[in-house]
């Protein structure tokens, strides 16, 4: 069956936008029409990849349909391999794509990019890397979201049942910073320094960690632990992964004082605790049914210190971010083909 549609009355940007709205396509922002010519250009030199069915709809995307969504998102052909790697990564069973798309939780498909492809595409891992402004960040994350919406069928209000959603559902893509005093996260996870890697996780938007006053690593970690110790997070009871994205200045202070990702992880496991008194009685009862008990007089954040991943991104300033997850997901990393 042909995948080409004839839209006879669509002859300008406004008509295209109306046509998308009518069909339930797009994220509400303008898109670029995926004409056959643009899709062909997107696919020139595209790597061969193997893809499976995308829940909730259960349809397997083709390279052409992914390219069509990449065009709609504003991608350049050079961005497509990263989009393909991200689509492949969210299909890993551990990522739990179906659960993450159909849930009432506001999680979005977070994409962190490591390695040389960042510079080649202009991916931002510096100032405002989690915000607007860098085309590659914006369009790669958006292309993944559009693939999940159009091919996966995760339409808000129908198969995407998020209670409130989040701005991250439009696009949530950033690069690791080169200004890390430690191994980049991809290297921590066993990839070579020369590999270009995407790491995906069904994640909440970033929770800011503002600490201008602390002058030591231990003090900064006190603020980080306090930010992580919140009773409304999925990580408290579903457990699963979470990401500490340190700003380079906080990371530099920590490294100066001898902290490493391993010692930070161990310290936060002990100190990022949610006092039992901060959890309602009804929730405590429910946690017991889900097999979650406090450790003494406080709950841990997640069930294993290794579930906390640590990376560096951002620009000048005394801010970091904690990125909790859906819980029933994993941080999945894939080499960019």
């Amino acid at each position: 069956m042909s995948d080409v549609l004839d839209l006879p009355d669509v002859d300008d940007a406004w008509a295209w936008m109306a046509a998308c709205e009518e069909r339930g396509w797009g994220d509400g922002l303008p898109t670029i029409p995926p004409t056959e010519e643009r899709v062909a250009a997107m696919l020139a030199g595209a790597p061969a990849v193997e893809l499976g069915p995308l829940p909730p709809r259960g349809v397997t995307p083709t390279l052409r349909s992914i390219a069509a969504n990449a065009v709609m998102a504003g991608c350049r052909p050079a961005d497509l391999p990263v989009v393909l790697a991200a689509v492949g990564a969210v299909q890993d069973e551990a990522y739990n794509l179906h659960g993450s798309l159909a849930t009432t939780h506001p999680c979005a498909p977070m994409v962190m990019v490591s390695g040389p492809v960042r510079a080649a595409l202009g991916l931002n891992g510096g100032g405002n890397c989690l915000g607007q402004g860098a085309r590659a960040n914006a369009v790669i994350g958006r292309a993944l979201s559009l693939v999940l919406l159009h091919v996966g069928g995760a339409r808000p209000g129908v198969l995407d049942r998020s209670t409130q959603g989040s701005p991250a559902k439009y696009t949530f893509c950033f690069a690791e910073s080169d200004e890390t005093p430690w191994d980049p996260l991809a290297v921590q996870r066993g990839f070579a320094a020369g590999d270009s890697v995407v790491s995906v996780m069904a994640a909440e938007p970033p929770h800011n960690v503002n600490d201008h006053g602390s002058t030591t690593g231990a003090e900064i970690l006190l603020t980080v632990a306090g930010t992580m110790a919140q009773p409304g997070s999925n990580n408290v009871y579903v457990r699963g992964p979470h990401l500490l994205l340190l700003g380079p200045e906080h990371a530099a202070t920590l490294a100066r004082d001898g902290w490493t990702p391993a010692s930070i992880r161990a310290h936060l496991w002990e100190h990022a605790r949610i006092p039992v008194a901060h959890v309602s009685e009804g929730n405590r009862r429910q946690f017991v049914e889900w097999g979650v008990e406090p450790d003494g007089d406080a709950y841990t954040v997640s069930d294993d210190p290794e579930n906390l991943h640590i990376a560096v991104a951002g620009g000048a300033g005394k801010h970091s971010a904690w990125i909790p997850s859906f819980g029933g997901t994993a941080l999945v990393s894939r080499v960019v083909p």
Binding site: L5, P33, P34, P61, T62, G153, E289, G328, T329
Partner: protein
Amino acid sequence: MHIVDPTSGIASSETVAVAVSEGSRAGALCGLSNSKPGAHDLLEAVGRRLADDHGIGPNGLEAKPSAAVGADPELLDHLAAQYRLAVVAIGD
């Protein structure tokens, strides 16, 4: 304007098989909840009333490990082997 359909792909050939009841099993009816508190309470009440009013039993009640993940296939196989009927609740 001719465009490539962004929703296009290869449709799944997956179908859901309906297992036919094979003779008697130990249990009559099991509840399976999505693990949300409301779903669990609802199934518990429905099971109790079916037993009280209609003598349907013995009944069981199970749940997914959490709402965020799918049911363990081994649990589904176990329930299918033990019970004739299932009431599944998806609530929030």
